[in-house]
Amino acid sequence: MKPYLSMVGANLKMTLRNRTGLFWLLLFPAAFIIVLGSLVGDGSSLHASVGVVNGGATPVARQMTSAMKDSKFFAVQSGAKGTEFAKLREGKLDAVVVFPEKESSGQPLPVSTYVDKANVSTSQAVSAAIGQIGQRINEQAAGTAPQPQVVSINTHGVQSKHLSYIDYLVPGILAMSIMQSAIGGLANSFVVLRERGVLRRIKVTPFPLTSFIAARITSQFAVALCQAAVLLGLARVFFHVEIVGSLLSVGAFVLLGCLAFLTIGFLVASVSGKQESASALAQLITFPMLFFSGVFFSLDQAPTWLQDLAKVLPLTYLADGLRQVMIYGASLTSLWGDTLALAVTVAIGFVLATRYFRWEPKTS
């Protein structure tokens, strides 16, 4: 285990010290987010308008509604379920809170909150604020003795017509930067190590070359997670882009995408004899994906042939998967299409990369 960890550590050190590489894997995508984000601005506001349905039906509902009215954060209005939902869909409301018409004794009151999926940052704030109010009421009711909850809150996302551009862009840029460093970065450095004989030097040590590859993959995983942390952190700090879905799901997609592109990176390294040709081939593969995978703009309005093309590009699925998790809070299981597409990429990439793999320089 120690040789392996030592190799992973060395890989990470080398990544950090490679200024050019660092530029492409962090600075470049970060600049993209900041420049494009500043152009379109962020969609967040300090106030949330909420429509309440059945706010006076039960004592607990009355208690919660008045708590929301007291809060400066909420602008509360009441109405029938249908009209409030219509307002939410049109983007006139930030959320709708629906209380049940009756309470069933002994059960916590089921409260449903519907938020605008597109306006991620506000939706997050709304759910958090309503959650806090619910928690406070639960605690007051409990007193000192433990008692069953009086309120349980479920949050649902509702698709509105408008999606803010920065929310759309950030997952795409993250997907792009993962691809760039897993294909271009890996292929470049691996070809150099092989052609200059460093791999042969490793080969005469007792450290198995398969472990060397595994260490490479592990360190690339760490790099991809760092990319995600930095880029998503930037987007959050500057543009209030929040992650609706679970961080675990984001992480899982980051790693799956990273692995898919790594197999392509190894394939590129295997068929290239020189760093220059690896670099050119990597660009040839990544460039079309940048434009035709819906990273910068949605392809919904694009011609059919372009949409068909996007369907065979793995970056489409990584960008879409990350977007679904981040914006809509989709779970991994509901994204089986994206997951499957990336898994198929891993499988095909693995078979091809193994088929063409070389430890020895081409010249010898």
Binding site: K2, P3, S6, A10, K13, M14, R17, G197, V204, F207
Partner: protein, 327 residues
């Protein structure tokens, strides 16, 4: 095609040597090209053994088969009791290797490189050992420098001490000084002598005669995939039955030229002249020099820059292959 040439030196020596490397009938072909053509070799414990030959002779291929980098087509290799083909993984732990390409990870420092390889070998990369290695390679001041900031000679020395990081029993050095300037070459030679002083067995390849003469206890001359001859440098040189080369430049008082056929002087086997420069090969240096002096005195000639160069491995190589090492 001759059958493999049998080279055996252990038998006629008086002392009983412990054989560390034993190679029999080693053969490797690349398509039509026979790179190594039936090589037999034994290397004894504690000796510095050199394989001398021109580029393309098969030296590196031979070494890489012993190191486990290439699989032989035929033949047996045994190193310190391990079969180099079947027990390659075990063997890797007890050998140290410097490859011809000395490239390492550019972005790591010298010290980090040593520590990483120490971990890869699973040895304790104790700071003491690393410091000791840095000192024998005169790299202590460069410990924190990154590999890509080192000079060519320093990179060579680093790759050499990396071959010692696992405290190996046998060290393989593939052309350890190729491409280095004379100063850097002498530094590497000092380093190889220090490795010998650590009582390690060293097998090196080179195409420099001086290097083989300076460093090696025994030398095998290799050409076209075959070992032509193998012995101590001194024995090889003596076997030529040639004493020395006499060099001088001749000046006459009266501008008179030296018109005698110097081939007729005692001992001389061949003669070369270029303007006033003389180059005589002799099998009896004393007789040749004495008669050359008296001839000069008789004719009133001045011999300037008279020097006698002893026979070297280059002459041995030429006599076995019919061409110079650098041809």
């Amino acid at each position: 095609m001759n059958p493999a040439i049998q080279i055996d030196n252990g038998r006629d020596s008086e002392t009983i040597e412990e054989v560390v490397i034993r190679i029999e009938g080693l053969r490797k072909t690349y398509g039509e090209v026979v790179a190594v053509d039936g090589v037999d070799l034994t290397v004894n414990r504690g000796e510095v053994f050199g394989i001398l030959g021109p580029n393309g002779a098969g030296k590196t291929t031979t070494l890489e088969m012993i190191e486990g980098l290439r699989k032989p087509d035929a033949g047996e290799i045994e190193v310190a009791g391990y079969d180099a083909v079947r027990e390659a993984e075990d063997l890797k732990r007890i050998i140290g290797v410097q490859l011809q390409s000395t490239a390492l990870f550019d972005y790591l420092s010298v010290e980090e490189t040593l520590r990483l390889f120490s971990d890869l070998y699973g040895t304790d990369g104790s700071p003491v050992r690393i410091q000791q290695l840095l000192e024998i390679a005169s790299l202590a001041k460069k410990a924190k420098a990154r590999v890509d900031e080192l000079s060519g000679g320093q990179q060579h020395r680093l790759s050499l001490i990396l071959a010692l990081i696992n405290d190996p029993r046998v060290v393989f050095l593939d052309e350890p000084t190729t491409g280095l300037d004379p100063q850097a070459r002498h530094n590497v030679w000092d380093l190889v002598r220090k490795i010998r002083d650590e009582k390690k067995t060293v097998l090196l390849t080179t195409h420099y005669m001086e290097e083989a003469e300076e460093l090696c206890d025994r030398v095998a001359i290799m050409d076209h995939g075959r070992m032509l001859v193998c012995d101590t440098p001194l024995t090889l040189i003596r076997s030529l039955k040639m004493d020395a080369t006499v060099l001088a430049s001749v000046e006459a008082d009266s501008g008179e030229q030296l018109e005698v056929d110097l081939d007729l002087l005692p001992g001389v086997t061949s003669e070369e002249r270029e303007a006033s420069d003389l180059r005589l090969q002799t099998e009896n240096v004393q007789a040749t020099v004495t008669s050359l002096m008296s001839l000069a005195a008789e004719r009133g000639l001045h011999l300037k820059d008279l020097s006698v160069r002893s026979v070297n491995l280059e002459d041995v190589f030429i006599s076995y292959t019919g061409r110079g090492l650098r041809d």
